[in-house]
């Protein structure tokens, strides 16, 4: 599965020459290993990704490009490969073939899950898993991007900056009045927000959100849409969702997956009027 690729060979065309360039970068752009390079405005490339499980093609030559700062929705019927796609991006599943790049230079197919998380891709699972006995504030504090070794934790004290960052995120996820409540006592929707907040504390560049509004009330769904729209720009978001009113509220580009590859792409109205999409959803 995890085949060793020629490091030169896997880079998108046009980069090799620059990397071998010894002098100062002519356009003032310098590559550093492991650093996210957004020089082409694209944060995530999936190129001809195929994954099969016992002969079943979960992903079939999937191509997808997400721009930096974009808010993208992925929809599709059950078994279309949405979750498998997320698994490939986060390193949980290795693709049989194809390329998966984070920015221009970071090859996700050769990294472990923690490495990918550390590089700046955060994923929210369907079921919120927060620390129920800790307060909302403590949940965010634990998730904060910082030195997480034992010795540091023993003597850790929140700096003003860090305290402000936790407070900012608490406001963003509308839990600033619930900061001192044990997270287990929050409502389902609030738990989902807290989980998103924990993701934000890790300062990811790209957020993958799997059915974030499942089980939320209409009001909570609406607020979640507002939150995501406010996050777009600073972060890039990929949202997998079935709730069409939610997708509509988000307002970004929509990609329809079907049988492991992209069926249609465009804004929601275009996609909804696409004949093939209608067939897939309504049956032929």
């Amino acid at each position: 599965m995890n085949k060793v690729l020629d490091p030169q060979g896997v880079r998108p065309e046009g980069l090799n020459d620059r990397e071998n360039w010894e002098g100062p970068a002519s356009d003032g752009h310098v590559f550093r290993a492991g650093e996210l390079d957004l020089s082409h405005k694209v944060i995530l490339y999936l190129d001809d990704i195929s994954v099969s499980f016992d002969g079943f093609k979960a992903l079939n030559k999937l191509n997808l490009a997400i721009d930096a700062g974009e808010l993208r929705c992925i929809i599709g019927p059950n078994g279309a490969g949405k979750t498998t796609m997320m698994d490939v991006i986060t390193g949980k599943t290795r693709p049989d073939e194809g390329k998966c790049f984070f920015g221009q230079t970071i090859d996700l197919t050769r990294m472990t899950e923690p490495e990918i998380a550390h590089a700046g891709i955060g994923r929210k699972f369907q079921k919120p898993t927060i620390f129920e006995h800790h307060t909302a504030f403590e949940n965010l504090e634990l998730a904060m991007k910082m030195d997480k070794r034992v010795w540091k934790s023993l003597f850790a004290a929140l700096s003003d900056d860090e305290y402000d960052r936790v407070s900012d995120v608490l406001r963003q996820i509308r839990l600033d009045h619930e900061a001192e409540r044990p997270a287990g006592l929050l409502s389902h929707g609030q738990k989902q927000w807290l989980e998103i907040g924990m993701l934000l504390m890790q300062e990811p560049r790209l957020l993958l959100l799997d059915e974030p509004v499942a089980g939320m009330t209409d009001d909570e769904t609406e607020r979640t849409a507002e939150l995501f729209v406010s996050l777009a720009g600073k972060h890039s978001l990929v949202v997998v969702e079935h709730d069409m009113s939610f997708v509509e509220a988000l307002g970004g580009l929509v990609t329809v997956l079907h049988e492991g590859s992209v069926l249609a792409e465009g804004d929601l109205a275009t996609v909804q009027n696409d004949q093939r999409v209608i067939e897939v959803y309504l049956g032929r």
Binding site: F131, E132, H133, S153, A157, D160, P182
Partner: protein, 397 residues
């Protein structure tokens, strides 16, 4: 928002807690010594040698209980082999005590009696340096610490958890007991060490030495409570509790549970060993039965009776169970184990949070009905100091 460590340490416990600690210190360091040395035995406030030794012994047990609470209550790791670390600490210091006997043994040779009995001519290599007090202290900390570290490293790295971990620790202490029962192991076989004469040249049976050991035990208990309080209120403690509740989630946000568990596990073992080292000179004997499986299980019962995850609860639990034990084993020796069993079942069924949990339930009700607003943020501080009164009272009794 940034607070210096000293301030954080001071604020890790509320003022009432410090007050209770001060009272406890006063009773243990001034009250008991004065009552023991100055009051005539006829006085109702006189503290007998028996009581001092019994209380000193229970203080050591209380230290073990708090150490157990750190890993069980806060990290969710139930060890049923903590008696091993306690015993190893005791053996480490016991070696020094044996050497302090010098030529006053039954055979009048500068070699522990059991070695003469086994016809050994000189000390085995691992006894080298055991006549040094400082080396004894090093042994007390280093041997159990190293064993806990190595054992913990492999167990936690293999993600052994829950009941499997408990069973393995139980097997570990049992195996050690069998090893120490052998005469060839070089620790006195089933008789262990006894007949101690002096520490640092001072008579071990003198009232002053008795009170010194008692005072040191009290000091160790206070130190362990403060250290525990600091740990569980630090970020380290929050990570630990998070590991207890959802370990994989903790890994997912970038922590390595292995090192967190290993740190608290090893610390807990070393604290037990220190308690063991203070216990042995007070009771005057250490033998392999301290490593028996039942002893380690009893430690878990102390913690359960007092209340897990409360630090001060285990101190109360250790006092309740051991005072009951002293009473039962004198009055109705054959019923003690039945009582212990019923106690454990009763606590598990009716007091899942132990005595401290009961206390909180009784006294948390009132303010909740008075004020309409439901502030669920529990004040973990409101209870502990009361419990220390109890402990202090117990010590003074």
């Amino acid at each position: 928002m940034r607070t210096p460590l000293t301030i954080r340490f001071l604020t890790s416990m509320p003022r009432k807690g410090w007050l209770a600690l001060a009272i406890f210190a006063l009773v243990a360091w001034v009250g008991v010594p004065m009552a023991h040395l100055m009051l005539p035995e006829s006085s109702p406030f006189s503290v007998s040698a028996y009581t001092v030794t019994l209380m000193g012994k229970i203080l050591c047990y209380a230290v073990v209980a708090v150490a157990m609470d750190l890993i069980w209550g806060y990290a969710g790791i139930l060890s049923l082999g903590h008696g091993l670390f306690f015993a190893l600490g005791g053996y480490g210091f016991g070696m020094y005590l044996m050497r302090q006997i010098g030529t006053d043994g039954s055979y009048g040779v500068n070699l522990p009696d059991f070695m003469v009995f086994l016809d050994w001519k000189e000390l085995p290599w691992f006894w080298v340096g055991s006549d040094s007090f400082l080396w004894a202290l090093v042994l007390v900390v280093a041997v159990p610490g190293a064993l806990a570290f190595i054992f913990g490293y492999f167990a936690f790295r293999s993600r052994i958890k829950g009941v499997y971990f408990s069973i393995i620790t139980q097997a570990l202490t049992y195996a050690a007991m069998l090893l120490f029962f052998r005469n060839e192991t070089g620790f006195g076989g089933n008789n262990g060490f006894t007949d101690f004469k002096r520490i640092l040249g001072y008579d071990i049976t003198s009232p002053e030495m008795r009170l010194t050991l008692f005072g040191l035990s009290a000091a160790l208990l206070m130190f362990v409570l403060l250290l525990g309080r600091y740990l569980v209120t630090s970020k380290f403690g929050r990570v630990l509790a998070a590991i207890r509740d959802a370990e994989s989630r903790v890994m997912f946000i970038g922590y390595q549970p292995l090192w967190y568990k290993l740190f608290i596990w090893t610390l807990s073992a070393v604290l037990c060993a220190l308690a063991g080292a203070l216990y042995v000179p007070q009771v005057g004997i250490i033998n392999p039965s301290e490593m028996s499986a039942a002893n380690s299980i009893e430690i878990a019962i102390w913690v359960a009776v007092g209340g897990r995850g409360t630090l001060v609860g285990p101190v109360i639990g250790a006092f309740i169970v051991n005072l009951a034990k002293s009473f039962f084993t004198v009055e109705f020796p054959e019923y003690w184990l039945f009582f212990l069993g019923f106690l454990f079942i009763g606590v598990t069924l009716f007091l899942p949070d132990g005595v401290v949990g009961l206390w909180r339930k009784l006294f948390a009700r009132k303010p909740a009905t008075e004020t309409e607003s439901p502030p669920p943020v529990q004040k973990p501080a409101a209870v502990p100091e009361k419990d220390e009164h109890l402990a202090a009272k117990g010590a003074a009794a």
